[in-house]
Subunit: 195 residues, 2 copies
Amino acid sequence: MTPQFAPVELEKAYRLINHGATALVSAHHAGVDNVMSASWVCGLDFKPAKLTVVIDKIARTRELIEQSGYFVIQVPTVAQLQMTYDLGTRTLRNDPDKLQHCGAELFRMEGHGDLPFVAGCSAWLACKLIPEPHNQQAHDLFIGEIVGAWADTRVFSNGHWHFEDADPSLRSLHYIAGGQFYATGEALNANTDLG
Amino acid sequence: MTPQFAPVELEKAYRLINHGATALVSAHHAGVDNVMSASWVCGLDFKPAKLTVVIDKIARTRELIEQSGYFVIQVPTVAQLQMTYDLGTRTLRNDPDKLQHCGAELFRMEGHGDLPFVAGCSAWLACKLIPEPHNQQAHDLFIGEIVGAWADTRVFSNGHWHFEDADPSLRSLHYIAGGQFYATGEALNANTDLG
């Protein structure tokens, strides 16, 4: 499902989420894998590379992150629209076969233990939780240090996305509410010469 | 420049930034206005509505926020591509006419004092700083409670964006790095019937 991907330098990993794409959050603990979708994922720092993700107390994935100290943020594609929506509405708490029902297929990455990665995404960021009890309790806000990053080379290489050269089904998703998404659109370039 | 805009319910204000658009952050204190662009703006809560924004210690706008306790997050359009880039690279510290040089025109909103709003954007979120000294110092992370929200009715109404019905120049921007942006693209809808 993910035929070609390559590592991304950690200092450039923020670029994988900088366009504000809807993300999938996955984690594993004690034999349990789970994946949920999350709109509120955001860059936090370049070096060391960090990001934030907001995860409600109701989420089973949150427990797996708190227990294991690790999670993966991944960028799903237009081809994964329905899966992304379903992963955000179904819960492992009352649907033990949630991943199968949503069509999410997992794989492991060498050197990252049992951390579950979702196949078919365009980018993956393996994160180590930086525990911040106040933020987690008061704001449902989790901070992760990015310890590994990879991208599908058909849409991201040399530190930049190049959706415009690839199949539109590989573009990212941007969620609004109620099942409404937008795909990443037209490439635009600002004049970088301050003159 | 902004002929038609209407208030947005605070509980739905997160939808104005949920698609991960690049934002402009503005603030005012003691006669000084400033505006900067920021990619790292993210929803945090629905009710009361809150958001996060990452602002480097070097930014003059950060001082204005810390001094006044208020700021505005706004969503610039494709028509404002160059202005958005320039507002992120020029600084008021060595360019006192930064706003004029970038082509940013400000207006005030009734009931919101001297808070500066950037004309021509598609959405505006007036925010009250929730002071969190640890997050601000350690992570450059600021939390705001959204106390007012408005959107251009040509692209947002009834709680949803409808870029597909409007001029493409009103779409949002999604920044990557080095002057590279993407516009918001195709509208997509997931099947919301869990079946």
